[in-house]
């Protein structure tokens, strides 16, 4: 952190990272709640998204104690990769990507409808929103710090 940045700006930076951590934590616990408590079996694409969101909880967490801007460099690739899987999953779920090319032939189909909050918020869409928010916040944070 450059010395001319005020405490206030540093607090905002920290709050942005904290928001990222909260989103990742809620997404992680939420996905575990769906699978282990409500018994919704996760499909293959769900697992790929889990691979990208679970480590973020620990990476963001570590970056929050003694704020380290270097956290962006390590977390952004994970978040972007997860965002692409979530986008693909959501398009598949909506039928925009044809089912015939989906990779999940065994187990749970990735278009299985478990829940749709308010009539449209499906699990893949929740994931896409979470990844989008994390990517956006990280880019904002990156700009603030390099500015």
């Amino acid at each position: 952190m450059s010395s001319n940045r005020t405490d206030r700006a540093a607090n905002v930076d920290w709050a942005i990272l904290f928001a990222c951590w909260l989103i990742a934590s809620v997404a992680t616990l939420g996905s575990l709640f769906f699978s282990d408590v409500l018994g919704f079996a996760p499909c293959v694409l769900c697992w790929y998204q889990r691979i990208f969101i679970y480590p973020l909880v620990l990476i963001f967490g570590a970056g929050l104690f003694s704020f380290d801007a270097g956290v962006i460099k390590y977390s952004l690739p994970l978040a972007i990769a997860g965002w692409f899987v979530a986008l693909y999953h959501t398009l598949l779920y909506w039928g925009i990507v044809p089912k015939s090319i989906q990779p999940c032939s065994e187990g749970v189909p990735c278009t299985e409808k478990y829940l749709e909050l308010f009539g449209f918020l499906s699990i893949p869409l929740l994931s896409l929103l979470a990844f989008s928010a994390v990517v956006t916040l990280l880019i904002v944070l990156k700009r603030r710090i390099t500015a």
Partner: protein, 216 residues
């Protein structure tokens, strides 16, 4: 508040919410599965259901099972041990929930074996040799035929009997009961009509002991 404390506190709040939520959901499931079993008591045990143990036993374990299910196999000795520990007090009733592919054929084999008075022997052979015919990646149900003679069965008669449509109807009616009672996984246990909601050896034992205390 220090920033580190905010993180730790938030973590605690999130995990607590998760745990409370789980308890709430499990509680509601227990309630709804329990009332499902109460309102459909006739679906729990049918006249045709194979039964092991003293007919006068007051604790009745109903197990929805699949001969190809590994967990059913693992629970089998555990249940037998409990029955041996409380002689005459526990009765086991088996119901079919053939969820594995081709498992309905195995249930038909069991029913045909019953006509030769070798039901439990046939089941024992199936469980003992399960890894060899029910491999998840390459199930080879035809292999069961080489093991069945060990149960003292007339295999030719068995092959004829298992084609009897009465047996197919019996298995179908068991599956309908499983659906009615919302049994989606095997083994699915009910002890004196109470569903085992949180799955596990200890949980089943607790449920059985509770019923033993209540009835003896």
């Amino acid at each position: 508040m220090k920033k580190g404390q905010i993180v730790v506190l938030s973590g605690i709040v999130l995990v607590t919410a998760f745990v409370l939520g789980s308890f709430l959901v499990k509680d509601r499931q227990r309630e709804s599965l329990g009332s499902l079993a109460r309102t459909n008591a006739e679906a729990l045990i049918r006249e045709h259901s194979p039964t092991l143990g003293d007919a006068a036993a007051k604790v009745v374990i109903v197990e929805f099972m699949d001969p190809g299910c590994e967990t059913c196999r693992a629970f089998d000795p555990f249940i037998k041990q409990m029955m041996a520990a409380y002689p005459g007090k526990i009765r086991l009733v088996l119901r079919y929930a053939p969820l594995h592919q081709g498992a309905d054929q195995m249930c038909a084999v069991l029913e045909a074996a019953r006509r030769q008075g070798k039901y439990w022997e046939a089941l024992q052979v199936m469980y003992d040799t399960q890894p060899q015919w029910a491999d998840h990646h390459a199930p080879r149900p035809e292999r069961i035929w080489q093991f069945l003679p060990a149960a003292g069965l007339d295999v030719n008669k068995l092959r004829r009997d298992m084609q009897d449509p009465v047996i197919a109807r019996l298995i179908e009616s068991d599956m309908a009961d499983a659906r009615t009672l919302s049994v989606t996984k095997t083994p699915g246990f009910f002890v004196n009509g109470k569903p085992l909601v949180v799955f596990g050896y200890d949980q089943l034992q607790l449920l059985v002991e509770e019923e033993l205390r209540a009835n003896y």
